[in-house]
Symmetry: C2
Subunit: 326 residues, 2 copies
């Protein structure tokens, strides 16, 4: 599977020789499994030492703190705890450089500034991978294979930190995308948080009908609502951290929804002219949906065959490389 | 696979000995394949005789009209053409009894009354199965296996017609659900048409961002928007035929969406009391989504293993068997 030469132990080719993973849940343990498989010495830390030992038992690395600073620490803790962990572990000298895996990037970057963290040794990260299950037992070494992994360097991020985080992504088999923290957060509001809320609203309406009526549901309804099974507390935290951008997206969805309702009301009107107007409007909405959905690239690993990995060149938005001032 | 004894040809156990399928697209040809496999003599009619011959070449039956009336005709034509086909084929004496497979049931029932059709020999039907692909080449004999198939008898539907349609469903391996045409249409507005419009609205928003931003999309977005790939013309027709019920559902979704937007705006407020209020409101929405999604039964055939077929007893709404007056 790997494109890398076998690691030699004494003379690894990678500049990333040692990593500490803080938080050995699904994502942290999957990172650790991938790195250990590539010959990187990986330490496993968790606020619950038993969870870190579980990850160790799975072959993810060594449970416990390293004796001296590692090259890179990966903070795989919940979004609300990242800056606390960053400040604490920078003060304790856990690693030369730090990155995280939170699904929002601007709030931790801002909070890190406010907390007096060393921003030169931190770069925000967000691997676009996950599973329905959580915890170390759900972790797999290939979780990130072919998936997008975003880095959101600030103007203060140092080159060595960016280099080490880039190497982390390469060793995990993921594809690097670089953008500003602000653009990242507006983008995931569109691609992740808004669909989650819509799926939850749709799924919430299924609490009302009789059970027999629900037998009139097919694969389509199941697909549309699948993500609504996500943990409400975790998703409240995620949406809280990006609330402004998600609210903005959803207000626009509400505008579009009002147009769709009007189109359907025209279709339900006895006047043929109104019906034609409604049909044209609805067709436009549906055709726009086809066009938008067709833009999504094939997701690596989503199918046993036929899946195309995304192109390997890092994405840079047209307005130029990230220069957001934290 | 089949629970039926081998058909003997001369003494079949089923009261359904001959069927005419009108419209040999995906659904019609799949019905014909299933019936032919069960030993039912099946005739294949299509406005394009070449399409009927394609179905014949696939082993679905005999292309062309029967010499004398068959037991049951299955009208597998687009929703807008059902009543025309019903009136025409009843006048031509194609079959003793008639059913259809359209995804809405009240409009054809009403139009059949207006067109002077024999309602005693007609029962509306809707198999809950389909594929992304269309046409006879996409057809399979097991398309309906374990799936729900709704019948919507009116007060005028005769017992022999209902019996023959029930037998059709059994021979196709599907599970019968009986309800009024009105309840059917309100139910599919909820379980099929509303999720389709929401998916299209979400997918339509993907026409705007840069291609690189779309690399920040995962399986969740793909699932939520998959049905939006459906043919806009077909779906305009489907939604037109149930426009009032769908508009009503979507107006309620719009109300729920406004609550979600308010919750996110509170979460984005600097006031901690507002934030707590927003978090509580959002958690309620997300938890309701989990509860609703969890009510959906496993879909037969959706997974290679672990799929549970729905219970076999026909569903009757609490308010009693269908007695809708057409």
């Amino acid at each position: 599977m790997s494109e890398l030469p076998e690691p030699t132990g004494e003379h690894p080719r990678s500049p990333l020789r040692s990593v500490a993973v803080v938080g050995t849940g699904l994502i942290g343990t999957s990172v650790a499994l991938a790195l250990t498989a590539q010959g990187v010495t990986t330490y496993l830390l968790d606020q619950d030492p038993a969870v870190a030992r579980t990850a160790e038992a799975l072959g993810a690395g060594i449970a416990g703190r390293p004796d001296r600073p590692v090259d890179l620490a990966v903070l795989a803790v919940p979004p609300s705890r990242i800056v606390e962990a960053l400040a604490q572990q920078q003060a304790a000298g856990l690693a030369h450089s730090f990155t995280d895996v939170a699904s929002v990037k601007l709030p931790p970057q801002r909070a890190a500034v406010a907390a007096g963290c060393d921003l030169g040794r931190y770069v925000g990260g967000h691997p676009m991978a996950g599973r329905e299950r959580s915890g170390p037992l759900a972790a797999t070494a290939d979780l990130f294979h072919g998936r997008t992994w975003v880095l959101t360097p600030s103007v203060r991020t140092g080159p060595r930190t960016l280099h080490l985080a880039t190497e982390l992504i390469r060793l995990c088999g993921a594809e690097l995308v670089t953008m500003s923290a602000d653009l990242h957060d507006r983008t995931v509001a569109l691609t992740s948080h808004t669909p989650h809320v819509l799926a939850s609203l749709m799924a919430g309406r299924l609490t009302r009908p009789e059970a027999g009526q629900l037998r009139l549901s097919g694969q389509g309804l199941r697909d549309v609502t699948r993500v609504a099974l996500g943990d409400p507390q975790l998703w409240t935290d995620i949406l809280r951290s990006n609330a402004g951008a998600v609210a903005s997206e959803l207000r626009e969805v509400a505008d579009d929804l009002a147009v769709a309702v009007a189109a359907l009301e025209w279709l339900d009107d006895p006047d043929p002219a109104q019906q034609r107007r409604g049909a044209a409007e609805l067709h436009t909405i549906l055709a726009s949906g086809v066009a938008g959905r067709s833009r999504l690239p094939e997701l690596a690993g989503a199918a046993a065959s036929g899946g195309q990995p995304p192109p390997s060149a890092p994405f840079r938005p047209a307005r130029g490389p990230a220069r957001a001032r934290p």
